[in-house]
């Protein structure tokens, strides 16, 4: 991932092979290293599922990605990480782990397996690389929950999504402030539009953006909004 990139403009692709396609791209990025899942038939891939289960698995996949990312951030802190930054990033790690656990528990036997992630594009020793990636994940998470809510049929799941999304938005604001202190970046015009509305992305767009970070073979054949 480009260290300065903060927007996602996914290319067109067929929904059937969304994440598999992304996995293939990730293998190219790794300079020819063959990924273990590469070439496995789709019959062996996990599918997120449809309806509310599909949306919950979709959220679960994103929370797995975030939790894995912050776990690595705290396991190998970047050069010059301040005490305050360490405390913030530890809190965020714990929140994402709690979200992951919450979704897994609610999905029960319908949960997709634990995903293998690929953070080859992140330089974990660089503050800018880590915080820029964090900003990307948090803003993506906010837009993902905002975009998926309309497909949720069960009021209790909608409330659960609401309880998570505003915490992701709080994370996004704090990370953005670490990158540009005391500016309007925490809710800057790149994420809050003309009517004072936060970014919203369909599940299809979010998965295309998240795909390069996910090694596992996952399909979204039945997910609403893809």
């Amino acid at each position: 991932m480009d260290g300065t990139k903060n927007t996602f403009d996914p290319p067109n692709m067929s929904r059937r092979h969304l994440l598999r396609w992304s996995g293939a791209v990730a293998s190219v990025a790794l300079a020819g290293v063959m990924l273990p899942n590469f070439g496995i038939s789709e019959a062996l891939a996990a599918d997120l599922g449809g309806g509310d289960i599909g949306i919950l698995n979709y959220a679960y996949a994103l929370e797995q990605l975030e939790a894995a990312f912050y776990t690595m951030v705290i396991a190998s802190p970047y050069v010059g990480m301040s005490k305050r930054e360490h405390a913030i990033l530890t809190d965020i790690r714990d929140h994402e782990i709690a979200h992951r656990r919450f979704l897994k528990k609610n999905l029960g036997s319908k949960a997709i397996p634990s995903l293998q992630v690929n953070f080859a594009a992140v330089n974990f020793s660089s503050r800018n690389s880590v915080l820029t990636t964090a900003k990307t994940f948090e803003d993506l998470g906010v837009s993902a929950y905002n975009g998926a809510a309309r497909y949720i049929k069960t009021p209790g799941y909608l409330l659960a999504a609401g309880k998570i999304v505003s915490v992701e938005a709080r994370h996004a604001a704090v990370i953005r402030d670490l990158l540009k202190p005391n500016s309007n970046s925490f809710a800057g015009p790149d994420v809050v539009g003309a009517h004072g509305l936060d970014v919203v992305r369909s599940p299809g767009k979010v998965l295309a953006a998240a795909g390069p970070f996910i090694k596992s073979n996952v399909t979204a054949n039945n997910l609403p909004g893809v």
């Binding site: 809190d91 714990d94 929140h95 905002n146 809510a149 909608l158 609401g162 505003s166 604001a173 004072g196």
Partner: protein, 221 residues
Amino acid sequence: MNQHIADHVFSDIDPDMIERLTVNKRELFRQAVIRLGGLASAPLVLAAASQQAFAGGIPKKIVDTLNFALTLEYIENAFYNAGLKRGVVPARYRAIFKIIALHEAQHVAFLKSALGSSAVKPPKADFTAGGKYADVFSNFRTFLTLSQTFEDLGVAAYKGQAANLMANGDILTAALQIHSVEARHAAEVRRIGGKKAWHGAFDEPLSKAAVLAAATPFLKG
């Protein structure tokens, strides 16, 4: 009202105030409901070009919910406009509060446009809460305390109302897009105040009654 949640939202307001807010203030509450009343059921058009048309206009439940949201946005909008005008915000934080003020003004305009002739009028606000916060526009700490209260209250309010908007995907999405902006505001205001930007891994909702009870001390009768 869930006391645990109340503690989060009102953590910076003195205990006496919390007592007043969480006790059932029947008369003040009745007035607030009247103020929110007169909710017409005329056909409405969502500002963001709703794709989902309702045969008989937008359902009353949605109109009521949007007017509830609009009332909160009116309060926030008036609060930040007054704060910036009175110069209570130090220069180093002005860019932050200017964009917060801009967003609240945009939320007011958006909701008014969505509601059309059914939109409620702005309430008359008293940000000193009857003298309790007399220095709200001269002491930045006081201003910050109320700002945090309004932002956390907004987050909890939108969250609590989301299920009432499920009948219209476009309106639900727009409300959630406002909800996460309020959460960004809340985090930043808390950060300025030297506090954690969050209460934990999950943000809790508040019911409409609890939100109105919290907002009522800042409304003139």
